[in-house]
């Protein structure tokens, strides 16, 4: 089975995030890492491959330096990486990004496309839906457990009320949650071997995507203004001396919140 995993390089969780007021884009110059739930998707793909054979290919859109982060997934056990890196793609919103990724995925013709549920920078949690729509493939999201028999995929979908178990014929798109597995650490052998795995960098032209359909030109959303989050309102700090629960209760009752 051929599995494509869509992954993204994001600012490292420990780094302070900054938005460039000029471009109104996230400053991506600092420490970077692979998006955390994408690692769950990579792990799940590798497990499927280990159990059933096949190939795991990483598909990503980002600047050239995103290859550094893809290396980690290659070190974990993915077979090769495809990075779409093109100046004209910078600033792509959901619509433009899904167009580019769908074009890259068309080229791969994978049986299963995996996504992490959301990226820690954009936090949109809808890209997989847009890509599935463009590919005209069935979609299961928020998946906490996944099985496949080679012709269908079954996902246990986490909801507020419990689990939905959903099956879909392959090829399909699945977005996984971080509950699905514990991503492995790359082994030293994996790390040393990652460099020699195929890593392909593609331009928009390679995918047949018109530059006008990508980047800000191809986006359907415009960032109008940016501002800091509003200052936190009145707050109350309660030191627990054994009566904290009662104090919280009193506070909520007083405000008629309970």
């Amino acid at each position: 089975m051929k599995i494509a995993v869509c992954v993204k390089q994001v600012p490292d969780a420990t780094a302070a995030k900054r938005i460039d007021p000029e471009t109104k884009r996230l400053d991506r110059s600092g420490e970077a890492a692979l998006n955390a739930t994408d690692l769950n998707a990579v792990e799940e793909a590798i497990r499927l491959k280990e159990a059933q054979g096949g190939e795991v290919v990483l598909v990503s859109l980002g600047p050239e330096r995103a290859l550094e982060s893809l290396r980690k997934a290659l070190a974990m056990g993915a077979d090769r990486a495809v990075l779409v890196a093109d100046e004209a793609a910078a600033g792509s919103d959901l619509v433009a990004t899904s167009r580019i990724l769908a074009a890259a995925l068309e080229r791969e013709q994978a049986d299963l496309v995996l996504f992490g549920q959301a990226s820690s920078d954009g936090d949109g949690a809808v890209l997989w839906a847009a890509v599935a729509d463009r590919l005209r493939r069935p979609l299961i999201s928020q998946v906490a457990a996944l099985t496949t028999d080679g012709s269908t995929v079954t996902g246990k979908r986490q909801t507020e009320h419990g689990y939905d178990t959903i099956s879909a014929p392959l090829p399909a798109v699945v977005a996984v949650s971080d509950a699905i597995n514990e991503p492995r650490y790359p082994s030293l052998k994996g790390i040393m071997g990652a460099k020699s795995k195929p890593q392909e960098t593609l331009s928009l032209a390679d995918l047949g995507v018109d530059a006008a359909e990508a980047g800000e030109a191809g986006s359907r959303t415009t960032v109008l203004a940016l501002g800091p989050p509003p200052a936190r309102g009145e707050s109350l700090k309660i030191e627990d001396d054994g009566s904290a629960a009662q104090k919280i209760l009193d506070y909520l009752v007083e405000r008629r919140l309970l």
């Binding site: 290396r71 650490y185 790359p186 030293l188 790390i191 040393m192 990652a194």
Partner: protein
Amino acid sequence: MDFDLTPEQELIRDTVRTFARDRVQPVAAELDREGRFPYELVAELGELGLMGIPIPERFGGAGGDTVSYALAIEELARVDSSLAITVAAHTSLGTMPILLFGTDEQRERWLPDLAAGRRLAAFGLTEPGAGSDAGNTRTTAELRDGTWVVNGSKIFITNAGTDITWGVTITARTGEDEISSLVVETGTPGYGISPPMKKLGWRASDTRELSFENCVVPEGNLLGERGAGFRQFLEILDGGRISVAAMGLGLAEGAYELAFAYAREREQFGRPISSFQAVQFRLADMATEIEAARGMVYRAAWLKDQGRPFAREAAMAKLYTGELSARVASAALLIHGGYGFMEESAISRLYRDQKVLEIGEGTNEVQRMVIARHLGLP
């Protein structure tokens, strides 16, 4: 000139950093308190290939370079020196003699289990009467009827007595003015291992006294040439200093980070103590010296990887990080105030773990002797 790590080195550092944070940090205090050897962590490190980083792949190692190895030790020491010394002593002191001086037959027989971390190796150099003067070894090995008969004792030997210890490489006097290296496998009759020694720091690491009473060792356990023991242990110590220097660097970073976090959180006189210049200057000095130390440690490792002389730089890095980690651990504890003096504070464990970095693998004085010799002083 290029100060960047390679992508592989960066990934190794990040992997060990994450491992140390997620797997080691949560249990480090408990392991230390109970003096419990971290078998589970060693097994996990073995799975990841971190118990044999610089051992070539054909002997079951990861084939990594010295810089990668130093990075891994640094990241472990940042969180837990006991685990860091377990890996460092196993790799630099226990496994290296086999790799460097063993015959192909010996290497193929012993290295795969060691490089995979299934078994641990120890290095028996120090004796009750031969510390800094390690050449003054009293342990003897006499070749009788095709076997070595070993008599004597060793002390402060790391990794010698764990459940998975394979054996120890010892130095022994094999003639009037002759020292040789011999491998003694655990379980050899006449080879005694004391209960774990109680220590100020490194409490979760395994440290033993060894005794040899008419201990009979196969003739084929001689490592390298007969009489080469003195030169061999000097070579092992040269390389080992890089990993101990990496431990000093890592411990200093760990102590600095604890102090930094505490200073921002702790409020006195109505503001965080990190806003006081006295505390800021302390942190600024720590950060500066750590930066200098990092340069020294990585450069010594890099020189070794280039196949160039590195002994002088390794001794300098070991000396500097040993004394630096003492300054940083002490200042970091003081920033913690009374809380730092409490046993349950993380900084107090780092403070205890630090002291041996100025003693083990050559005291500060021994490093100065080595450096002075490299300077051409008589």
